[in-house]
């Protein structure tokens, strides 16, 4: 499999490269020799139907699933990601579709879950964590005030901003957003769009996962389309139309301006 798949940065080293990744669950090949890459400041949309394998592929990168085969390279060097802690150590942060929040504790506790700030006595420094939480939430969602309440009391949009805040709090270099706007209203969706543009400017690479092309097309620089665990093809969003991408998603048909993947049919 060649490196730099359909990317505009010929010769440059990608921030992340996933090569030939495979994983099977009880005989079903959820991801079948899939490869994707991502450059700094780039947004790559990972598209496909429900069950196409995109979430699974990305969970391998975030350390939630162990892969059966393939390589992961960060800045050109092969790395071992065995659990979520490893991924975080490489600056990979994930916003899961389910948000993965502990509903019974407050926003600050969720933001720092697994990475708590401690006092010199080794106890939780709740005040410092709340201060940081107020800072980052002030940037994302200035109207947010409910710092003392468990996150289950928050609205969908507020919960989403907690999940996003957690991902950007620790200076992520690689951000994975799995259906980030699925639970949001139009206003909040626009907010997330603004945030993505801002993060892009900071040189963060973003994988944007969605089954809805409209969510992704305007924000992404490139798309990679998956079907039945395989990559159908890669394309710059400037080179293809929405209809062509839709054809990739639904039929697995690779248009002429896209780069063919192993999963393309015709």
């Amino acid at each position: 499999m060649n490196a730099n798949i359909g990317n505009p940065h010929n010769g440059a080293t990608p921030l992340v490269e996933m090569r030939d990744i495979s994983i099977a669950f009880g005989g079903i090949r959820a991801v079948d020799h899939a490869s994707v890459d991502l450059f700094p400041g780039e947004v790559v949309g990972l598209l496909g139907h429900n069950g196409a394998g995109k979430s699974t592929l990305i969970k391998i990168l975030s350390g939630a699933y162990p892969r059966d085969g393939g390589q992961i390279l960060i800045n050109g060097e092969e790395v071992q990601i065995g659990n979520p802690r490893d991924a975080k150590a490489y600056g990979i942060e994930t916003i899961y579709q389910t948000l993965a929040l502990a509903d019974n504790v407050d926003a600050a506790a969720n933001l720092f879950l697994g990475r708590e700030l401690l006092t010199t006595w080794g106890t939780l420094d709740d005040a410092a964590m709340e201060a940081e939480a107020r800072k980052v939430m002030g940037r994302l969602n200035p109207n947010f005030r409910r710092f003392k309440e468990p996150v289950k009391a928050l609205s969908g949009g507020q919960r989403q901003s907690v999940a996003i805040a957690r991902a950007i709090l620790f200076n992520a270099r690689i951000l994975i957003m799995d259906e980030p706007t699925a639970a949001l209203g139009p206003h909040e969706t626009a907010q997330v769009g603004e945030l993505i543009k801002e993060l892009k400017k900071d040189g963060i690479g973003i994988f944007l996962i969605s089954h809805d092309i409209h969510d992704v097309f305007d924000l992404a620089d490139r798309v990679a389309v998956m079907k039945n665990g395989q990559v159908v093809g890669y394309a710059k969003t400037t080179d293809v139309t929405k209809d062509e991408v839709l054809g990739m998603i639904i039929l697995g048909k690779c248009p002429p301006n896209a780069i063919r993947g192993p999963g393309a049919i015709d």
Binding site: A64, K88, Y96, A100, A109, L113, R115, E116, T123, L124
Partner: protein
Amino acid sequence: MTQTQTAITHPTQDREGPVSAFLRATEIDARMLGMFGALILIWVGFHVYGMIFNGNGAFLTYRNLWNLSVQTASIAVMATGMVLIIVTRHIDLSVGSVLGVTAMITGAAQVWIFPKVLGLGLGHPLIWILAVLVALVVATAIGAFQGMLVAYLEIPSFIVTLGGMLVWRGAAWWVTRGETISPVDPNFALIGGGPYGSIGVTASWIVAIVVCVLIVLSLFSSRKQRKRFGFPRRPVWAEVFIGVVGSVLVLGAAYVANNYPWPVGIVKQYAAAHNITIPEGGLFVGHGFAIPVLVAGAVLIVMTFIANRTRFGRYVFAIGGNPEAAELAGINTKRMTVMVFALMGTLVGISAIIASARLNSATADLGKIDELYVIAAAVIGGTSLAGGSGTIWGAVLGALVMQSLQSGMVLIGFEAAMQQMVVGGVLVVAVWLDTVYRRRIK
């Protein structure tokens, strides 16, 4: 900083009654208040019932309240651990049996092994220390072992501990083939309370004052912390209120314990041993806090600290709220499960020490059906069986409620069968009330 300024504005509700305004300002949980109310109702209820039907209200006496505190200690200690077990969506049905086997091993060690095999001789001060260590190590190891079965072999905790309940009860019998070990080491027995196992009037006042100072200091430090970052704070009157109520409760407990006199016989024995002449009209020697009560108090403080101020406690609640999220956040949930069960074991060890010391003997039946009282205490104290929520304080209050019912019914002369029925009924009603409360607060 604009951030701090916006942060200070407190979200004010439009319509707010004086009660909810008071609760919000003091940040007192309405549930907690309800439990205190229930407790007072039970106490006064039994007292008045006794006055009317038996001619004397035996409940609200120094003697009974002191006894109540000692009787609650063992269950209360275990209930604090059960909170964490239930919060992480597990259950431990084996605590009563583990208490039994631990007490038997500890009893055998201090009566048969340490004095003879180690040649320490009876009553050597090392014996009780070694015995305490044995109890803690044995119970912690059993807890950790069961935790490993739950975490790594993925056997449901209900099954592991249901099996454990039978296995460890059987093991308790096997330690001595059913023989009761009595009496235990005299120093060890002091941990169970009694006249000599209490710290006396002066020491009790000192303990109470120290606790009051700690309450005030902790209020100050948390206020200072919030000030440092410019967060909303409680109004000063609310802080003063909490400090005063807390201190009054602690000092009141000391007052009650100090006013329960030693029995005349013990006073005579003590006076004879210390060459004191008993004055006309008898010598008053107050009990003061019993040692098991102080142990339970220390456990309460330490466990509250663990639950609220440490990473471990934070992870326990996060796992209970969403195990998958905790795993994705990089928490080693399997190791946490083992640690929670091991901690439960340690607390069972402490309870085994208290229970066998109080009885001055170890029997294979010690702690039988304690698991149900412990779970009931945690649940009455507001621990949700669905996991994710519960307080250490609540469980201790729950244990006190259970024990108050039990003792109260004994005092007014209910039959044993009736007592069981009432306790069972109260458990069901308490959980129902809690469900109603939770639904309304949503």
